[in-house]
């Protein structure tokens, strides 16, 4: 049934349908509505689970680490400073190969403090060893949240579901909420292979020296690379049940023989899609909607860019002193192509800066003008800065 729901409320309900046994979280804007909604579902008896309202995000992540190791389906959510406070635990959860699901309501990272959307937080933990999946709209956030449990539990890798703070979390959309019976059919109860059990005691988190550490890292990397199969299968099976796919690793929209491709993630996908229809381009252009940032689908990106002269990367985070983050990874993926496209990297929408539709024609002008690969932060209004900082 279609319902008008706020993104956070819809995600909370989707998570509840997955029957998590332990939820731990700490409030932070713009994630708060998700845990508030879950708390209400628990209070109303609509979700039966242990809800642990902790004293910090550090403990939120630690609680789900412990509960997951004890074999309980476990969920948490956070944003920005909260994700950064969790960082040490996030690496640990992944290294222990625990099937935790976390929603990151993406937000800028302080200083300056800013509660609005960009992707700096999930980018900061890009190397933590989690699967990271970005949602373009709230329907995808609902569907991906459910798929995330299935992926995490099948691969024994934690999954971070990234949804743009405010743009998605606080926006009402018409959403098709799945039926509980359907979710139960899709997602069987968790049976974790390495759970802490006095009848079959295991030691988890032991000291690993130089003679085995390399192998542990290899096995973690290999597991992430292999997880693409499960990510695709989880999406395909969901599509078979509901008729809705979230787009696997990535999807390509537009003419196959386009000479220009634009790659982006999250809600910016929808903004650009809209802009492309409002400002039809003389050049043939395709839109590459990147869903899975980790594992990074380099081969698929490369295949999608065959025949392109220009590739535009739009991203909502930067690596100060270097440039883009997604941009650098796209460039690396395209290295060695027979006819290597010129990559134009733009950082947009930082700290909630609006991305108006007319950004699109201006971008296309820049692409037509620039022959060389470039990186810039779009729409910097230099007159707002003291002269020496421009």
């Amino acid at each position: 049934m279609l319902e008008a729901l706020e993104g956070s409320q819809a995600v909370a309900r989707a998570v509840a349908m997955c029957r998590p046994e332990v939820v731990a979280a700490y409030p932070i804007t713009p994630q708060t509505h998700i845990v508030e909604n879950i708390s209400k579902l628990v209070a109303d008896g609509k979700l039966i689970c242990e809800l642990v309202s902790v004293e910090s995000e550090f403990s939120a992540a630690s609680v789900v680490l412990g509960s997951s190791a004890a074999g309980a389906r476990s969920y948490t959510a956070s944003s920005s400073q909260g994700i950064l406070l969790m960082t040490e635990v996030l690496f640990n959860i992944a290294g222990l190969r625990l099937p935790v699901v976390l929603t990151c309501a993406n937000r800028a990272v302080s200083a300056p403090i800013n509660i609005w959307n960009d992707h700096q937080d999930s980018m900061a933990v890009r190397d933590a060893g989690w699967i990271q999946i970005h949602c373009a709209d709230n329907q995808e956030a609902v569907d991906t949240s459910i798929q995330a449990f299935r992926i995490a539990e099948a691969t024994e890798l934690p999954v971070m579901v990234c949804m743009d703070g405010f743009v998605l979390t606080h926006t009402l959309e018409t959403i098709e909420m799945p039926d509980q019976k359907l979710v139960d059919k899709y997602l069987p109860p968790l049976n974790f292979s390495r759970k802490l059990d006095p009848r079959a005691p295991l030691s988890l988190g032991t000291l690993v020296g130089p003679d085995h550490f390399t192998e542990a890292r290899h096995s973690h990397h290999a597991a992430l690379m292999k997880s693409t199969a499960e990510i695709l299968a989880a999406d395909a099976d969901w599509a078979a049940l509901t008729g809705r796919s979230c787009g696997g690793l990535l999807t390509v929209e537009g003419p196959e023989d386009a000479h220009t491709a634009v790659i982006t993630m999250g809600s910016t996908v929808c903004t650009i899609r809209e802009a492309m229809s409002v400002y039809p381009n003389k050049r043939k252009t395709k839109l590459i909607k990147l869903r899975t940032f980790r594992p990074f689908p380099a081969a698929e990106i490369r295949a999608a860019c065959v025949g392109c002269k220009d590739v535009v990367v739009l991203e909502r985070a930067i690596s100060p002193g270097a440039g883009g983050i997604l941009g650098v990874e796209v460039k690396a993926a395209l290295m060695g192509m027979k006819r290597q496209p010129v990559v134009h990297e733009f950082a947009v929408g930082l700290g909630g800066r609006d991305i108006p539709l007319e950004t699109w024609p201006r971008l296309m002008e820049a692409v037509a003008r620039d022959e060389e690969p470039s990186f810039s932060i779009l729409d910097v209004e230099l007159e707002k800065l003291p002269v020496e900082e421009r």
Partner: protein
């Protein structure tokens, strides 16, 4: 090592060590990598013996974690989880929540060193106590960060030498006091918090069992001599642990919902100097100068204060009041 040799025809019957002859269940096996005379290793074994097999242990980073689990080996016969230095209490909260969700009654024991408990893991511990998780937290107090090479912690006693509180022309070892963690824990008004020492195994075992019988958060502070960090002979760990209690520097007490319940009485308090002089970490306090004398007097005054505060002096009225027998109930509400 793996070569299979035919058994020698007249091999003498293998002598069992006294320990192996005891029909005890061992949660922490022999063969781990602790130093000789490690108080923490012995204390952990005693905790597990008293707790029995139906438990899950979480362990903070520190000596105990490192010396028991060099991959691919582990000395633990119970399910054991190590995550980080500062989150033993929080992961234990999670394990406990999972047990609750699954309707299991398995008890959770969180473990950490003094660094992981007094300092970096304190917030997670306070949160766990406030949320009333059904977890026993055991802190092995060897009064410094031993695993990283003997640095001062919030638990290091005043004037003790560590690698980050060395004595010198301007300093007499650690400048600050040992944090009174037990009082802070008690201020959470949890059902049961107690101190004990590896040198009093009967007391330690009894407190573990008592804590595990209680539904809700409980806390044990276990004084655990460390030959390497304290600078004493490995054969004297137990003796030194007893002296710490008998001089009053490490009071052995029980606190029930924040109120003093029982204490281990001291019939004849030993001078603090008897305790200090066996340890290298206090050697600079025996120099022939007024600063050393002052610090010794200071530590003696701290011990005397503990004896007064907790009414530790045995007065002979109590039938159990023999030196170091056990903790006996003194004042506080009788339940």
């Amino acid at each position: 090592m793996n070569k299979i040799e035919p058994a020698a025809p007249e091999a003498p019957p293998q002598e069992l060590s006294p320990r192996d002859r005891q029909p005890r269940w061992r949660g922490l096996e022999a063969g781990h990598r602790a130093c000789q005379g490690c108080g923490e290793a012995l204390a952990a074994r005693l905790v597990l013996e008293a707790a029995g097999p139906d438990i899950v242990v979480t362990n903070a980073t520190g000596c105990l974690e490192v010396f028991t689990t060099p991959w691919p080996q582990s000395a633990w016969r119970v399910p054991w989880l190590h995550s980080l230095f500062e989150n033993s209490a929080a992961i234990a909260s999670g394990v406990e929540a999972a047990m609750k969700a699954k309707g299991q009654r398995t008890k959770v024991i969180a473990m950490g060193g003094d660094g992981g408990t007094f300092d970096i893991g304190f917030q997670a511990l306070s949160g766990m106590l406030e949320r009333m998780h059904n977890v026993l937290y055991v802190c092995y107090d060897n009064e410094a960060y031993m695993n990283t090479g003997i640095q001062r912690s919030g638990s290091t006693p005043h004037a003790a030498m560590t690698t980050t509180s060395p004595p010198g022309k301007e300093r007499m070892g650690k400048r600050h006091m040992k944090k009174d963690l037990l009082s802070i824990i008690a201020a959470h008004h949890i059902p049961y918090a107690a101190s004990t020492s590896v040198s009093f195994p009967a007391d330690l075992r009894r407190k573990v069992r008592r804590a595990l019988d209680i539904e809700g958060p409980t806390f044990l502070l276990v004084h655990s001599p460390c030959p390497l960090g304290w600078g004493h002979d490995a054969s004297r760990s137990i003796e030194i642990g007893r002296l710490a209690v008998e001089c009053g520097l490490f009071p052995v007490v029980e606190l029930e919902r924040g109120e003093l319940g029982g204490v281990m009485p001291i019939r004849e308090p030993r001078p603090v100097a008897d305790y200090l002089k066996l340890q290298n970490r206090f050697r600079h306090l025996f120099a022939d100068d007024h600063r050393a004398r002052e610090e010794r007097e200071h530590l003696q005054a701290l011990a005397d204060h503990n004896i007064d505060k907790y009414h530790l002096r045995g007065d002979g009225a109590d039938p159990l009041d023999t030196a170091g027998i056990d903790t006996v109930r003194r004042g506080g509400p009788l339940r």
